[in-house]
């Protein structure tokens, strides 16, 4: 067993004539927190969806724990994806279920725990992410954006996944709430010893979460390194993105 948790090679994905991923090569080490930065519409979400098997890549290989997942058998896929958790950008909480049923979804549907046991677990994890037990019986639509993110996080970590994906975890939150969520992400990922992949364009969040940063531009990983290296790099794309300047090699298509 190598120390590589996720290994992506030469990943391609197009929609119609639009090339979204154009040969991605990326390795994520066990227990590492990798943050992929990049502008809107550069294919960050598509990358995550390919790794999770929600989209099938046109070409290339994705190995998780040295097992090829592209074109794998359904039964094998199920085992692989059971190791993963995901925090969605908008929370993606099921609005037909109440908060604790959302959090305990996997326990109820896959592990067939009793409702009482599942609720106990859900309340425990809700407390971990800073939510009081009385939130458990509310419906997701009664929660604020920050609380929904916390519930989404609780749902992602309750099964103790080995890999957690965060899709723009701080988007739509005020800076203080964003920082609280960042802390929670770091804390829960370290607590589980999980490998995490975060996509974001929020640099403050990236600095806080990342062990390593990779930049996605025009369907390719054009730069990777630590936060320190990012501050020193003379790569014009990275410096422009980090400083958030309209001037530079990255042209925004209007």
């Amino acid at each position: 067993m190598s120390d590589t948790k996720i290994s992506i090679q030469n990943l391609h994905k197009s929609f119609g004539t639009k090339k979204v991923l154009d040969g991605i090569d990326l390795d994520i080490q066990k227990g590492e927190s990798l943050v992929v930065i990049g502008g809107s519409g550069t294919g960050k979400s598509v990358l995550i969806k390919c790794i999770q098997g929600l989209l099938t890549p046109d070409e290339g290989s994705i190995k998780i724990d040295d097992v090829e997942t592209v074109d794998a058998k359904e039964s094998l896929k199920k085992d692989i994806y059971a190791k993963m958790g995901m925090l969605f950008q908008g929370g993606a909480l099921f609005d037909s279920l109440c908060v604790w049923e959302n959090v305990a979804f996997s326990l109820l549907e896959n592990q067939k725990l009793s409702r009482w046991q599942a609720k106990m677990d859900a309340v425990r994890v809700l407390r971990q992410v800073g939510l009081a037990p009385d939130v458990a019986d509310l419906s997701p639509s009664e929660l604020s954006g920050g609380m929904q993110k916390r519930v989404g996080l609780a749902r992602a970590i309750i099964t103790k996944p080995e890999i957690i994906f965060f899709d723009e975890p701080t988007t739509g939150l005020d800076p203080i709430m964003a920082d609280v969520i960042n802390d929670l992400i770091v804390e829960s990922a370290k607590g589980l010893g999980a490998t995490t992949l975060t996509i974001t364009h929020d640099m403050a969040s990236a600095r806080k979460i990342a062990d390593r940063i990779a930049m996605l531009y025009q369907g390719k990983i054009i730069w990777q390194g630590t936060v320190k290296e990012m501050d020193k790099t003379d790569n014009p794309y990275v410096t422009q993105f980090v400083s958030g300047s309209a001037q530079g090699p990255i042209k925004v298509e209007v």
Binding site: Q52, L54, G90, A92, F94, S106, E109, N110
Partner: protein, 263 residues
């Protein structure tokens, strides 16, 4: 110059055709996948019960109102059309046949398509655009098993019961008009109805209902699943679900009638 016109003309014809064929292919794939997942476990019985209640039980008032007036109007029309000697048994027979064979299944299905097909497409469409469908997959739950199979089963199973209920109410509507408006003898009217009652009439209505129920759920799920692009996309999906279900119901109504009654 002329060639260019012809090319333009052909491409305006061809583009929608290609689009149509693509969407037909997508629908076919969806149907196969949905049926497959409806037949293999895991089954989500709780979701099925919830859907069955929604489609079946809560549609009872709508179906009742629709069929009672349908039965009443048929009694009225057939009397004014065939009036005279033997009108009593004639009206009973016409009401019986038209309600059980056509009106109860078709009208109920169209009403349920408006009520349930739209709601399904809106719910699943919203789940799609808010990434809830993706969230289901990441929680090791296949949306086809969790969402679509229970809806397809519920449509298939509950519509026949709704239509049986509609049969009774529709015939009762005919009875009301016959007895209280046209002055028929109640006992004679009931006797005439029972005399003409044939198993085949009821069976075809029930078979139709099952097919229609499947179509309604299928169109609701498919259009919801295909929707994209936020509120507008969900709105479109809802409209498409109702329109396509209604058209398919009418087409299949003819096809099934032909299978049973063409000689």
């Amino acid at each position: 110059m002329q060639q260019k016109y012809i090319e333009n003309f052909l491409s305006t014809l061809g583009k929608p055709l290609v689009k149509f064929i693509i969407s037909l292919g997508e629908l076919t794939l969806f149907v196969f996948k949905a049926v497959y997942h409806a037949l293999v476990p895991p089954f989500y019985v709780k979701n099925f019960i919830k859907q069955a209640l929604d489609i079946g039980f809560y549609s009872l008032p709508v179906v009742g109102l629709t069929t009672i007036f349908a039965g009443m109007v048929i009694a009225m029309q057939s009397y004014s059309g065939f009036g005279g000697v033997g009108a009593e048994s004639m009206v009973a027979d016409v009401v019986l046949i038209s309600v059980t064979r056509e009106l109860a299944p078709v009208l109920s299905a169209l009403m349920v398509a408006g009520r349930i097909g739209a709601a399904m497409a809106a719910e699943i469409g919203t789940m799609k655009v808010t990434e809830q469908l993706d969230a289901l997959s990441t929680l090791s739950t296949n949306p086809f098993n969790y969402l679509f199979a229970p809806r397809l089963w519920a449509g298939l199973v509950t519509l026949p019961f709704l239509v049986l209920f509609g049969d009774v109410i529709g015939i009762f509507g005919g009875y009301i008009v016959g007895v209280y408006k046209l002055g028929f003898n109640p006992a004679n009217y009931i006797n005439a109805t029972l005399e003409y009652l044939q198993a085949l009439d009821i069976t075809t209505g029930v078979v139709k209902a099952a097919v229609f129920g499947f179509i309604i759920a299928l169109m609701g799920c498919y259009n919801g699943y295909k929707s994209k692009g936020g509120a507008q996309g969900v709105g479109e999906a809802t409209t498409n679900a109702v329109v396509s279900a209604s058209i398919l119901i009418l087409i299949f109504n003819y096809l099934i009638t032909e299978i049973f009654f063409a000689k």
